[in-house]
Subunit: 149 residues, 2 copies
Amino acid sequence: MRCFSVVSLFLLLGVLSTGSGLAADDEKEQAVKKFTVYPIGWVRKTDGHTTIVVDKKYQEGLLGLDQFKEVWVLYWFDRNDTPEKRSILQVHPRGDKKNPKRGVFATHSPVRPNLIAMTKCKIISVKDNVIEIESIDAFPDTPVLDLKN
Amino acid sequence: MRCFSVVSLFLLLGVLSTGSGLAADDEKEQAVKKFTVYPIGWVRKTDGHTTIVVDKKYQEGLLGLDQFKEVWVLYWFDRNDTPEKRSILQVHPRGDKKNPKRGVFATHSPVRPNLIAMTKCKIISVKDNVIEIESIDAFPDTPVLDLKN
């Protein structure tokens, strides 16, 4: 009996830990406390060219982007994806201790609860799944979450 | 012995299911295919006032925001959070079928693989954890992911 009780406890914990995403829409605010985002592409920097290489499966989403001179790029500050860095709420702007501390929501700091970066880039060309841009303030191989005109 | 084997299996499954986020930094691109974002607050519309009510636990992140006239608000298109809507890659801009289809990455469409919205709002006041804004193109009770100056 004691054996089954232990197994039942594990089963119960499993159900509890996966059950919270199943609530009805009208209960979403209380029930859903998180959302999932996926890389749609990656920043690449090779041979003096800076590109966003979009995953082939999202290539259709680029239709018409070549009509624009600029694109908003939302990317993930993946180097900072730790619970510690995501719990930082105040920083010295531009990392300069002479600047008085400011809340991360009043900055573009790369540490913040949700590690979403937002920057506007000049488009050089769009070919198949590759957007060549003039430059971006992101490390090579950074995951890109979204593009907007 | 059989009893301990069953318990060990559950323990092992637990370790396997949580272990994928622990990969070394240089393996991140292959290992991490998704990221988690959390609401830091909510859009509220009551008595003719539009506010962003930030979760109390993130209130420190607002320090200094009152110095600014505007704030970028990143929010989640939570009404569209279904696999079907997140797989739409082309739309008629502004929902008008007379507009030729365009890739979602060349629009601000509320359907897109990652349901992140981005809009600039005029700040009326910042008091404790509440930012009153002039208006926002989001439904009441929309989850807010980030604020930037």
